[in-house]
Amino acid sequence: MITLTDFMVVSAVLFCTGLFIIVSKKNAIQILIGIELMLNAAILNLVAFGKYDRVNNSGQIFALFAIILAAATTAVALAIILNVYKQYKTINPDQIKDLKD
Amino acid sequence: MNLLTLLIFTPVLFGLIILVLPSSMRASFKYITLFATLLQLAFSIFIYVNFNADAAHAGISHEAQYQFVQKLPWINLNLGGAGKMQIEYYVGIDGISVTLLVMTALVMVVAAVASWEIKSNLKGFFALFLLLDMAVVGVFCALDFFLFYTFYELMLLPLYFLIGMWGGARREYAAIKFFLYTLFGSVFMLLVMIGLYLSVKDPVTGNHTFNMVQMMDPKNFIDGSVFSILSHQTIMGMPARTVGFVVLFIAFAIKVPVVPLHTWLPDAHVEAPTPVSIILAGVLLKIGGYGIIRICLGIFPDVAHSGAFWLGLLGIISILYGAFNALAQRDLKRMIAYSSVSHMGFVLLGIASQTAEGISGAVLQMVSHGFLSTMLFFLVGVVYSRVHDRDIYHFRGLATLMPRYTVYVMVAFFASLGLPGFSAFVAEAFTLAGAFKSHNINGLLPYWMAVCGSVGILLSAAYFLWTLQRMFFGTISLKGGDFWKGALTDIDWRERLTLLPLAIMALALGIMPSLVLGKINESVLALVQYLQLK
């Protein structure tokens, strides 16, 4: 039987993979994918915990909302990346240091 | 309105007018200045004519005998436990100052005319000039030590700027040297002045006072105070009164100037513009002599008596040292500056003798030197303004080129070297007579001093005649060639008009020394008597 723990482990692995991608990759698109992975880990947790909720299927509904929101933010993020590329001719975050003090 | 007050403040009034007028009217500034000085001269002549020269108006240590007095409370502060601070606007003159006043006023007129050659920043120049005028006249009139000191310090400021801004190539060096030298003297004078203030009480009001005439009376000194004669206080192991005298003497000796405190003079003179040279030599040096008579001798007669030998020795050294140095010069202005040192040495010698002849001779010498040095410096200015060179070796045969100028040069030179018929002769002869006589009258100076002093007269002939021969006689030969020949035109009417009154004064004082001696005699006698009483 698949227990909550199994879900949690999968989710944690997903989360950590995403985090690793965010910190280490030199491509903004990859970082975006990392973010998506982390988001999906969170959604997985949401669905898994939804079983223990008093209201039925509320987890799944929230998950649906989150997926839609994630798609929206990804669209915005891709637009930003596109603009960054236009501006800097690169999407390597190491070379975009205008956030410096 | 008190005449002396008018005399003092007339120039500064006109100075304010100049400050207010717009710069576009700068052409009128010199006329305003000239008018101010002429007005002042008129006042001073009026004062001279109305000055009462009898024994009842001798002045010196008697307040009631001063003339043209004005006494107003100026700064009165109630200091609570420390009593009341009493500073007065107190002016008045006696025989010692009256002739110097007239001399100053005339020299100022000449200096005003000489400043027509100034071309830059006229407003500043004439305003400072008139401020200076006020200060020097004020010094001769002030009878309150604080007022005296105020005027005395007030002279420095305009002079510093006049030399430092309108001077020659090394003007900053000269101006700062002059400023520091005199400041060095006057700062310590301030200390002595405060010491005197704390030692003297006005017998009427019972307050401490800066009144110089009251400082002359030993009775007004508070028992046990620093400068009291009876209390024998000491400062750093030396008698306090001696210290006070020496400090004041140094302050005035710098002005006179006495060797070895003279080195500011050649530099200041060489760098200063002609009108400032005139004021420096004509008036400023006399303030030193006047200060020694009025303040050093007046307030510390006992120390003056015991230190007379040293004063006389310094006088002799100044006479000889200045003369020898003048002999070694090749810059005409520097030569005249050193000759001033030599001639002012006679003043010190005469004062040190403390005889009537000596002090009269000293005052006469101051007046005479006032006119003569003015003339000499003006004459140097004539050549300098034409070719901007003063080196004696660069000229020869000027007499052929500038005959009128040479006549005035000869008058000035021979008058300065003590040719009878000119003022310096009577002054120097009687200074020496007083110095010689001193041993018999009061035993202050040894006989040999007068004899050494007379060698100065010989040397003055040597350097003046050498200059005449080298620079004015012989065939024409100029360093600047034909260009100079064209530039060296004979003196014009303005210059002649300036020189003529000076030459006439030098001649008049030589033929009628009573013009000065008649006015000063009673005061000098009173001073000598006062000095003998100690």
Partner: protein, 708 residues
């Protein structure tokens, strides 16, 4: 202050004032109005003419008559009044008459002599000024005025020596003359001051009169010179003398009496060109010859002797002996120098020095009257000699200019044979020359023999080494005969040397007009005996009768023998010179001999002064200036430097220590900030990483804290 003046005295006084002031008026007139005009010469001449006429009136009124002394207060200094006044006694009226009488011919002569000069007006201006000063000098009654005019005559002489101021030699000479006279002046001034200190007055009559303070009421005892006044009460108040309290005693150390003498001696030596201050006079010949005649031969140089006459009672025996010795030495030295000079005017200048030496010597031996007598006779004949020399030089100069030669018109070598061309000049020179030698029938004989006779008598009384003085005076007299003969022979006898040297030149010369000849004739007449004594063989004249004699003499054989010996010697010298120069029998003193060199180079005295004294003074003054610049001003600048060093140190301290602490704090903050700002490197991933780290750290801490 004085009793009523008699009317005739008043007239004399006014005349005297006029005599003095007329030349002055001429001076002023010339100075102000007649600057360029030829009239200036005549203004001056007329002034001096009137002065000379008046001076004869005054002379006759005063000579051997009452002394006139009037004064008025000039100025008051302290307790003493300085007077200005006239003192007319025999001595002063003698000079008062002499000066315009000599000046008049010189003026007339000058109107011709200077007529082509550009500075004609200036010349007469100066000349009148000189006459005024000289006349005032002889009549003033006190030492201050005496000193004043004493220096003014020197000043006039300065102006006239340097009359051609574009000639370097002339301006060198006038500078030298004035400075050497200044040495004498300060001596005189010192003497005046000493006298004033002791006696409290400058009045000549009060000091040196018959009842004068110096004469009667001062003495030297125990090393002090005392003035002691308790007799003065006897003096008539009416004569303007102050009555002082009895027993007034003023004293100064006796040494100052000698210093006063020394001062007066210096004054005399400078003015009358005595050794050691004589060197200015030969150089003074750079002036116009007429000036040399008036100032440097007749009048001004005699002022020194006049001064001796004025203050004579002051000297004691030692001092008189010094005067005699110096005078004698000067006379001898100058005569030896005159022997070899080639410049006509220089010969005359040294001759003047020599004769002045005679006068000073005569004063020294007590022959007061003879000294002044010689002064008067010498004034005439020496003036005459100079005027003649002037004509000769003027004519040679004409030749020079006409023919464009390059010669020195004053050199004896260019003269000779002028006797026929210039007859009047020749005769006048001859008379003056004989008077200078002192041959009988001339005025020079009368005065000079008087001095020599008295010198021998004086020395006879004293004995010993004093005998040297009359002996040397006699030798000088013979030397005089020789150089006068040499000069006259070389100028007037023989052949014209110029024509020999330059065969094709034209020579048009002559005595000149009446303005040249009249002065010569006037002066030549005054150089003969009748004006002074009817007996041509006496050795005194009526002049000496009016003046006091101070020496004691034993009339004896000397009186007969001396004139004879002297004159025989002189004539022998004349013959010798005639033989030597005209007949060429004998070579006189071979040229390169040592003695000749010493004589020709004027005993090297002037060279000594130039090389040693002048140079020493100049070096000393340069050294003092160096001292002033480097040591005194150096000290001032050193102070400045020290102050600057201290200020520099303070500035360093301020900059690096005080400010340093502040900067350190700031730097520390900046450093820390620098570390902190490294986090802000703008890398998004870095931010995220650090965030992650922080979260992990928080968790780790939380776990650790919870677990513990």
């Amino acid at each position: 202050m004085k009793e009523a003046i008699l009317p005739q005295e008043l007239q004399t006084i006014y005349l005297t004032i006029l005599i003095v002031l007329l030349p002055f008026a001429a001076f002023i007139l010339n100075f102000l109005f007649l600057n360029k005009s030829k009239a200036s010469g005549w203004v001056s001449t007329i002034a001096i003419l009137i002065s000379s006429i008046f001076s004869i009136f005054v002379f006759t009124a005063i000579w051997n008559g009452p002394v006139i002394h009037v004064q008025t207060i000039w100025f008051t200094i302290g307790d003493s009044q300085v007077h200005a006044g006239l003192l007319l006694n025999n001595l002063s009226v003698l000079m008062l008459a002499l000066v315009p009488l000599v000046a008049l011919p010189v003026h007339i002569y000058s109107t011709a002599y200077m007529k082509d000069d550009a500075g004609y007006g200036r010349y007469f201006r100066y000349l009148s000024f000189f006459c005024f000063s000289m006349l005032a000098l002889v009549v003033v009654d006190n030492l201050v005025l005496f000193y004043a005019f004493w220096e003014l005559v020197g000043f006039a002489s300065y102006l006239l020596i340097g009359f051609w101021f574009d000639r370097p030699a002339a301006v060198q000479a006038n500078k030298k003359a004035f400075i050497m006279n200044r040495i004498g002046d300060i001596g005189l001034l010192t003497a005046i001051i000493i006298i004033y200190t002791l006696f409290g007055t400058f009045d000549l009559e009060k000091l040196f009169g018959a009842e004068g303070f110096v004469t009667r009421y001062s003495y030297i005892e125990n090393g002090t010179w005392s003035f002691y006044l308790n007799h003065v009460l006897h003096v008539p108040v009416s004569r303007g003398w102050t009555v002082m309290a009895p027993h007034t005693v003023t004293q100064i150390p006796a040494i100052w009496q000698y210093v006063a003498f020394g001062g007066i001696f210096l004054g005399v030596a400078a003015k009358s060109a005595q050794f050691p201050l004589h060197t200015w006079l030969p150089d003074a010949m750079e002036g116009p010859t007429s000036v040399s005649a008036l100032i440097h031969a007749a009048t001004m140089v005699a002022a020194g002797v006049f001064l001796l006459g004025r203050v004579y009672p002051m000297f004691n025996t030692t001092e008189l002996n010094i005067l005699a010795a110096v005078g004698c030495f000067t006379a001898f030295m100058a005569a030896t120098i005159a022997l070899t000079q080639t410049d006509l005017k220089r010969i005359l200048a040294y001759s003047t020095i020599s004769q002045l030496g005679y006068m000073v010597m005569a004063m020294g031996i007590g022959a007061y009257a003879s000294s002044l007598f010689h002064l008067v006779t010498h004034a005439f004949f020496k003036c005459l000699l100079f005027l003649c020399a002037g004509i000769v030089i003027h004519q040679i100069k004409h030749v020079k200019e006409d023919n464009h030669l390059d010669i020195d018109p004053q050199d004896l070598a260019n003269m000779g044979g002028l006797r026929k061309k210039l007859p009047v000049t020749f005769v006048a020179t001859l008379i003056a020359g004989l008077a200078l030698i002192g041959l009988p029938l001339t005025s020079g004989y009368l005065s000079k023999e008087g001095i020599l006779v008295q010198a021998f008598e004086w020395a006879e009384l004293k004995g010993g080494a004093f005998m040297l003085i009359p002996v040397f005076a006699s030798i000088t007299s013979w030397l005089t005969a020789f150089y006068v003969a040499r000069m006259i022979l070389k100028v007037f006898y023989g052949d014209m040397n110029l024509s020999k040297l330059y065969p094709n030149i034209t020579i048009h010369i002559g005595d000149g007009g009446w303005r040249y000849q009249l002065p010569l004739i006037m002066l030549a007449l005054c150089s003969l005996f009748p004006l002074f004594s009817l007996n041509p063989l006496a050795h005194s004249g009526w002049l000496t009768g009016g003046l006091p004699q101070y020496g004691q003499y034993t009339a004896g054989l000397v009186e007969l023998m001396v004139p004879v010996i002297i004159n025989v010697g002189s004539i022998a010298m004349l013959y010798y010179a005639y033989m030597a120069y005209i007949k060429q029998r004998d070579k006189v003193a071979a040229q390169p001999s040592l003695l000749h060199r010493i004589s020709f180079n004027e005993w090297y005295i002037d060279a000594f002064y130039q090389r040693v004294i002048v140079r020493a003074v100049m070096t000393f003054s340069k050294a003092l200036y160096w001292f002033d610049l480097k040591v005194i001003d150096g000290l001032v600048n050193l102070f400045e430097r020290i102050a600057r060093c201290i200020a520099g140190a303070a500035a360093w301290f301020d900059k690096y220590i005080v400010d340093g602490l502040l900067h350190l704090a700031a730097a520390l903050v900046a450093y820390i900030g620098g570390i902190a700002r490294r986090f802000q490197n703008g890398k998004v991933q870095y931010y995220l990483f650090s965030m992650l780290l922080a979260v992990i750290v928080v968790f780790i801490l939380k776990i650790l804290i919870w677990n513990s």
